[in-house]
Amino acid sequence: MSPAPLLSVKGLRVGFSTEGGLLQAVDDVSFEVRPGEVVAIVGESGSGKSVTAQTIMGLTRSKNARIEGTAEFEGMDLIEASDAELRRLRGDRVAMVFQDPMTSFNPVYRLGAQIGEAIRAHRDGVSKSEARARAVELFEAVGIPNAEGRVDDYPHEFSGGMRQRAMIAMALALEPDLLIADEPTTALDVTIQAQILELLRELNRKRNLATILITHDLGVVAEIADRVLVMYAGRVVEQGTLDQIFFDPQHPYTWGLLGSLTRLDKPRPVRLPQISGAPPSLLALPEGCSFRPRCPHEFGPCIDLPPLQARLRDEPGHCDRCWLSPEAKKEKRQVAGQIGLEAPTP
């Protein structure tokens, strides 16, 4: 039914050896991204979203990193690939946009030159002026006004929103198949965020660009994602389609996230539903389910780590990591009262 996946991540684990011991930043993460699809990764800060994304790009490789699992991209395992193979892929087939447009460009070079550098790194024989002309085209494509006049500007001459557009322009320079956007709108004002999301949506539609979008904002997810991964303390605790996550969430952490959203289109609750406590330290994870210390529904089996598995027979793509039975979940979710949205009609 759906096309073959472009990227297929299986059992990804990333650990860093630190002074406090081995820090398992990413633990057993698996997902697939198909052409034209937007996969969102949500979770609180420190949950391993960026490390997941950067590992796919080979950017976390270092002496004190332990990386396991596979990430197959068009038949090549990005985890096993040599540095040179990865380098050929980066910026060309797989491109990345980072969170902070203020610090993600080198302040001493002109924007056009930085884009040109990316092009010339992958295409031999492209001259500087050709690369510059391409940068102008790209600026136009991402909606930067007066592209010809602004391509030779320095980063600090651009506003935050324009800089993020320039960042996206650079990512698109070689027409990648996969775009990884790590919190691309977190540092921006909402009106600018809306424009950037619109731009990303358009790229998905027009270029069939597959996207991994990292964010902590479920509002952004609702606006743009097709599939959603919810991460907690380095693990995926739930994944499913956008509608599954919003209308039939299975994991208490997902309920908490949905519940603590403020909605402008709904009457305001007297109290904002909150998740009590704070995420655990990755160096001292609780035994069993890592959400246990904060979970109001904890019961006997939770002392063992729940596997990520589908519990609804008719929805194999919708998995979660919670010991509660689907029936219990339906009931508890009701009791909790608010899961962001009205419960699905039975």
């Binding site: 609180e44 909402v190 999301l197 509002g219 919003f246 909605r263 305001r268 909150q274």
Partner: protein
């Protein structure tokens, strides 16, 4: 609003001069950071101040508290004019008005223990000392959801949400009437945001606090505020009750701001997008 306002701001202006010159600087232009804003807050109420970055929210807060000297305009606290008062004259008033900052990391002295940070205002104003001071501080820590044993820890040992709790405890130490919170939850994760917003809510009920609550997240502002003022380029473009501003905005900029807020409901946002594309 029947009660006498606790805080009344009238035509408050803060301009920052842009200086330029060959040998001696002259003022060539002004950054109109706050350009004539007026509002009032009744006791026990919350005024939400929203606007995009650079709209002048932080400058307005600092000018209201006289942390920077307003260019012109009036700020009345309990009917008394405070704009332009000197440091000495402000001193007795400082107890009554406190501020909470956005960055819980930057606003706490990393070399001081939590007990000192929270107790400092009490000691400096001569309210308490010795064992009494310690007892009061531990009470405060308890009240904001921290443990008494946190008394001797340093700020770096705490998470972002906990640090914001410390900032709140410090602000509440002198039992102020007015608390101005400048983006107190913007740097926090969503789940922690809710905790802090609820804490502020509870403290308001308990101590009868009056808040000016600043944020760029209009959803959070709407949740906590009785009235909302929308700032844009140093001016307040719209002011009204929270529901009025969010549900029936009249100003074009407010409408634009509201329309840009993502709706955390796939159906709604899909419908809105389709509506927008078919309309445009």
């Amino acid at each position: 609003m029947s009660a006498e306002p606790l805080l009344e701001v009238t035509d408050l202006v803060k301009h920052f001069p842009i200086k330029r010159g060959i040998l001696v600087d002259r003022v060539v232009d002004q950054v109109r950071a706050v350009d004539g804003i007026s509002f009032s807050v009744a006791p026990g109420q919350t005024l939400g101040l929203v606007g995009e970055s650079g709209s002048g929210k932080s400058t307005a807060c600092r000018a209201i508290l006289n942390l920077i000297k307003p260019t012109s305009g009036s700020v009345r606290f309990e009917g008394e004019e405070i704009a332009g008062l000197g440091r000495r004259q402000m001193r007795p008033l400082r107890r009554q008005m406190q501020m909470i900052f956005q960055d819980p990391y930057a606003s706490l002295n990393p070399r001081k223990r939590i007990g000192q940070i929270v107790g400092d205002p009490l000691r400096r104003q001569g309210v308490a000392s010795g064992g009494e001071l310690k007892r009061r501080v531990q009470e405060l820590l308890d009240r904001v959801g921290l443990a008494p044993e946190h008394y001797n820890r340093f700020p770096h040992e705490f998470s972002g949400g906990q640090r914001q709790r410390i900032g709140i405890a410090r602000a509440l130490a002198l039992q102020p009437k007015l608390v101005i919170a400048d983006e107190p939850v913007s740097a926090l994760d969503v789940s922690i945001q809710a905790q802090i917003v609820n804490l502020l809510d509870d403290l308001q009920d308990e101590f009868g606090l009056t808040y000016v609550f600043v944020a760029h997240d209009i959803g959070v502002v709407r949740h906590i505020s009785d009235r909302i003022a929308v700032m844009h380029d140093g001016k307040i473009v719209e002011e009204g009750t929270a529901d009025q501003v969010c549900e029936h905005p009249t100003d074009a900029y407010t409408k634009k701001l509201l329309a840009a807020v993502p709706i955390a409901d796939p159906r709604e946002s899909r419908a809105r997008r389709e509506g927008a594309t078919s309309a445009g």
